[in-house]
C-alpha cells in the first residue's frame, strides 16, 4: 500500500516535471519564434548586393541587420572553354558557370533584377530555391532578350540554396550551365572562418565524345539518357586545377559552399586527404561531424568545413570516381605551410618485401619460357589500344593529354620521346618521384603494370605511334632487355 502510494507520488512528480519541461520548451520556442520570425523582421536601409564569380564568395553578413538588398544579375549566352581544345556555348548567369554567388541574411528583402542580354537567343528566368513563393520566382522573372524583370521576396529560411533557370526546355537550360548558389545566413551570420570558397558541380552532354575537339553542340539524346561526357567543378575541366586551384595555409579553417547544378547526376563529394570537421547537411541547419563523403543531390547544396593541418595538395572529387578521373570532376586545394609529422609522418621507409613465391613471378616464368612470336605492326596497334584503354586511359586520358598537375601527358611528350628504354622501365617497374614533362613538374606515382612483355611492347608502340610522338616501334626483345 505504502509502495503504491509512493509510486503514485513519483508518477505525479514525473508528470509535474514533464509539464514543467514541456512548458519551458514551448515558451522557449515561442520566445525564439517571436525573435526570429523573418516575416516580421524590420529591414534597415538599402544596399546593392556584392556579387562574386566562382570560386570567390562575397563578404560575410556578420552582425548586420536585415536590409533591403538589390541584386543585379545578367543572363549571357556565350562560347567558353569546356576542356583543352573543346568549347561549348554556355548559357550563364553573369557570364560564369556557376553564376555569381549571392549572399544574404535571413529577413532581407531582396529586390531581384534579372536582365537578359540583347544578344541572347532565348528568354530566360530564375528559380531560386531560397524563395518562398510560386516557382521560386520563375514566372515573375521570365524575361525576353534585351529586357529586364524585377521581382521581390523575403528570405525566410537560413541555408545554402541552388538557383537555376526554369524556362522551357528546363533541362536544357540547366544542362547549358544556368545555375548557381544563394546563401541565406542566420541572424548574426555564420561563424567566421579563414577561407571561404564557392564550388559547384555540373554534368554536360556534348555531340562529340569526351575530348573531341572543337565547338561541341548540346546533345539532347545523351542528356535524356543521363550519359554525361563531362562532369566538372565550376563549369569546365580544370576549373579548379592549375592556376585555378584553391589555396589555404596550414592551420586555417576552410569553408566550402558546394552546390550541384546537375541536371542529372548526384555528387558523392569528397576531398582526398581531409575529413570534413563539419557538414551542414544538404545546406540546412543540421550539422554532421567527421564526414568523409557527403552526398549532394542535383539541385542541392552542402556547406563543408575543415581545418587543414598539413601541407600538400588536397584533391576535390566526385567519389563516383570515374567522373573524377575520366570526366573532369577533379579540383585541387593547395595547402602551404610547415610539415606536421605528428599528424602525418609521411613515408619513412621503403624496403623489399619477398614472401618467397608470387603470382606475378610465376606468370613471368611461364612468359619467359614461351617464346611468343613478334606481332605485326597493325596487330600491335590494335592490341596496344586495348591495353591502353584498360590500363592507362583512366589517368593519361583517351587523347593522351593526361590531367594537368596530376598525370603527365603522353601526347607530344618530351619525356617519353627522349628515351624508349626509360619508358619501358616505367611501364614494367613503375615510377615514383618528381619528373618534368613538357616543362611541367609532376610528382605522383605510377604503379608497375602486371602485363606481359608482348603487351608492354604493344601498348608502348601504340603510344609512340599516336598523338604526335616519334613513331618508335617497341619490340618484345627491347622489353625483355630492360631489367
Amino acid at each position: 500500500m505504502k509502495n503504491f502510494k509512493n509510486s503514485k507520488r513519483s508518477i505525479v512528480y514525473v508528470f509535474f516535471l514533464a509539464a514543467l519541461v514541456a512548458g519551458l520548451f514551448t515558451s522557449c520556442e515561442k520566445a525564439v519564434a517571436a525573435k526570429e520570425n523573418p516575416e516580421l523582421m524590420k529591414v534597415y536601409g538599402e544596399s546593392e548586393a556584392e556579387m562574386t564569380a566562382p570560386p570567390m564568395v562575397p563578404r560575410p553578413v556578420g552582425k548586420r541587420a536585415a536590409t533591403k538588398l538589390v541584386v543585379n544579375m545578367e543572363v549571357v549566352e556565350k562560347e567558353m572553354e569546356m576542356s583543352d581544345g573543346v568549347t561549348y556555348v554556355y548559357w550563364t548567369f553573369d557570364g560564369t558557370v556557376p553564376g555569381s554567388f549571392i549572399r544574404t541574411r535571413v529577413g532581407d528583402e531582396i529586390e531581384f533584377h534579372l536582365k537578359n542580354h540583347p544578344d541572347s537567343k532565348l528568354p530566360h528566368n530564375i528559380d531560386l530555391h531560397a524563395v518562398t513563393g510560386p516557382g521560386g520566382g520563375a514566372e515573375s522573372s521570365f524575361v525576353a532578350p534585351g529586357h529586364e524583370a524585377v521581382f521581390t521576396f523575403k528570405t525566410m529560411n537560413p541555408g545554402l540554396y541552388v538557383y537555376h533557370c526554369a524556362t522551357a526546355p528546363v533541362g536544357m537550360h540547366i544542362a547549358n550551365g544556368m545555375y548557381g548558389l544563394i546563401l541565406v545566413e542566420p541572424e548574426g551570420g555564420l561563424e567566421p572562418v579563414d577561407k571561404e570558397y564557392y564550388v559547384m558541380q555540373g554534368d554536360f552532354y556534348t555531340e562529340g565524345e569526351n575530348g573531341e575537339r572543337g565547338l561541341q553542340a548540346f546533345s539532347m539524346d545523351k542528356a535524356i539518357d543521363e550519359d554525361a561526357d563531362y562532369v566538372v567543378f565550376n563549369g569546365k575541366v580544370g576549373g579548379l586545377t592549375g592556376d585555378n586551384a584553391l589555396t589555404a595555409k596550414v592551420g586555417e579553417t576552410v569553408r566550402l559552399f558546394v552546390g550541384n547544378g546537375g541536371p542529372n547526376l548526384v555528387s558523392s563529394f569528397h576531398v582526398i586527404g581531409e575529413i570534413f570537421d563539419k557538414v551542414y547537411v544538404e545546406g540546412g541547419a543540421m550539422i554532421n561531424e567527421n564526414v568523409q563523403t557527403t552526398l549532394i543531390p542535383a539541385g542541392g547544396a552542402a556547406i563543408v568545413e575543415f581545418k587543414v593541418e598539413v601541407p600538400g595538395n588536397l584533391v576535390l572529387v566526385d567519389h563516383s570516381i570515374f567522373r573524377a578521373f575520366n570526366k573532369g570532376a577533379l579540383g585541387i586545394l593547395k595547402v602551404e605551410g610547415e610539415e606536421n609529422e605528428k599528424v602525418f609522418g609521411g613515408k619513412i621507409e621503403e624496403k623489399i618485401y619477398n614472401p618467397g613465391t608470387s603470382v606475378s613471378e610465376v606468370a613471368e616464368e611461364t612468359n619467359d619460357g614461351e617464346q611468343v612470336a613478334e606481332m605485326s605492326m597493325a596487330d600491335k596497334m590494335e592490341r596496344g589500344k586495348q591495353i591502353y584503354t584498360q590500363n592507362c586511359l583512366a589517368c593519361h586520358q583517351a587523347t593522351g593529354a593526361g590531367i594537368p598537375n596530376a598525370f603527365p601527358p603522353l601526347a607530344e611528350s618530351d619525356y617519353l620521346n627522349a628515351d624508349v628504354h626509360r619508358a619501358i622501365e616505367v611501364v614494367k617497374f613503375g615510377l615514383t618521384g618528381e619528373i618534368e614533362v613538357n616543362g611541367n613538374a609532376y610528382n605522383s606515382a605510377m604503379p608497375k603494370q602486371n602485363i606481359s612483355d608482348e603487351d608492354v611492347a604493344a601498348v608502348l608502340t601504340y603510344v609512340y605511334n599516336n598523338w604526335g610522338n616519334n613513331k618508335t616501334e617497341v619490340t618484345q626483345k627491347m622489353v625483355k632487355e630492360v631489367k
Binding site: K121, L122, G135, A138, F142, A144, A168, P169, N176
Partner: protein
C-alpha cells in the same frame, strides 16, 4: 475617322508598293492538317496560303519607313514599340554601315511588323501557319521526326548573332520557303495565344490542354525540343518588344474566285 485615313493611306501605299511586294516573291503553301506541339489529339487545319520566301530585309523596311514616317525610329509611339525599336539603326532613314541591306530587319515590334504586312496587302502568319510551313525540311513537308532536322535547329538556337547574316543562306524547304530556321526568330500574328508561361513547369498541370515546357512528358512530339524553345520565346514577348534576334515575314490569303 483616323482609322479611315490610315486605311486610305495604307491602300495608297499598297498600290505603290504592289510592284515591290511582287518582287519580294511568295510561294504557295498547300494547306492541310497537323498536330502542333500544344495539341494533345486534335489536328489543326491550315488553309492554303502564300508565304514570303524570305524574311523582310533591312532595305525593304527602310523603304517602308521612308513611306511611313510614323514608323521612323524617332517618331514611333512608345505604345507601339519599346526603346529597342530599330536600335541598331544609325538614324531614321539609315540602318548604319555595319548592317547589310539584305540582312533580315530585326528590333521591330509586332505592331510595326503587322502594319508593314498590312500595307503590302498581306498579313502576319498565325502560329499554326508558321509552324506548319516550318516543319518541312528540303524534301519532306513534315520532317519533325528526323534527327538532322532537329539537330540543325537546335544548333542554330545555340549560335549567337545570326541576325547579321543575309537572307537565303540557309535551306529552302519543301514549300520553297527559305530561312525559317537558322536566321532570326519571326513574329506571328497570335504569338501570345499559346503561352509557355514564365513558370513553364506548371503549364502541364491543371485542366488546360497546353503542356509546354519542362514537363514535356505529355507532348505528342517529344523529340521536337526545338519547338518548345520557339513557344517559350513567343511566351516571353509583348507586342511592343523589339528584339535583336526577331524579324518577320508576311503571308497572304489565297482568294478563291468563285465565278
Amino acid at each position: 475617322m483616323k482609322t479611315l485615313t490610315r486605311l486610305a493611306f495604307c491602300i495608297a501605299i499598297m498600290i505603290t508598293s504592289q510592284a515591290h511586294s511582287q518582287s519580294g516573291s511568295m510561294v504557295e503553301v498547300k494547306g492541310g492538317e497537323f498536330i502542333p506541339l500544344y495539341g494533345t489529339k486534335t489536328e489543326v487545319p491550315v488553309k492554303d496560303f502564300r508565304m514570303d520566301v524570305y524574311p523582310v530585309t533591312n532595305a525593304e523596311f527602310l523603304k517602308f519607313v521612308e513611306e511611313n514616317p510614323r514608323w521612323r525610329k524617332s517618331q514611333v509611339k512608345k505604345l507601339f514599340a519599346d526603346d529597342n525599336y530599330l536600335r541598331n539603326w544609325k538614324n531614321d532613314l539609315s540602318f548604319g554601315d555595319d548592317m547589310m541591306p539584305n540582312s533580315p530587319v530585326t528590333n521591330v515590334s509586332w505592331f510595326a511588323a503587322k502594319n508593314y504586312c498590312e500595307c503590302q496587302g498581306k498579313r502576319l502568319p498565325t502560329v499554326d501557319e508558321w509552324e506548319y510551313v516550318a516543319m518541312a525540311n528540303e524534301t519532306s513537308p513534315d520532317a519533325r521526326e528526323e534527327k538532322s532536322y532537329n539537330q540543325f535547329i537546335l544548333s542554330w538556337y545555340e549560335t549567337p548573332n545570326t541576325y547579321k547574316n543575309t537572307i537565303g543562306n540557309t535551306f529552302r524547304n519543301y514549300w520553297g520557303v527559305s530561312d525559317l530556321h537558322g536566321l532570326v526568330w519571326e513574329w506571328t500574328s497570335d504569338f501570345n495565344s499559346v503561352m509557355i508561361g514564365g513558370e513553364s513547369r506548371q503549364d502541364s498541370t491543371g485542366d488546360n490542354n497546353l503542356f509546354c515546357g519542362g514537363a514535356a512528358v505529355g507532348a505528342t512530339d517529344l523529340m521536337n525540343y526545338a519547338a518548345f524553345m520557339r513557344y517559350a520565346f513567343r511566351g516571353s514577348m509583348k507586342a511592343k518588344y523589339s528584339i535583336k534576334n526577331l524579324g518577320f515575314r508576311c503571308v497572304q490569303d489565297i482568294e478563291k474566285s468563285e465565278l
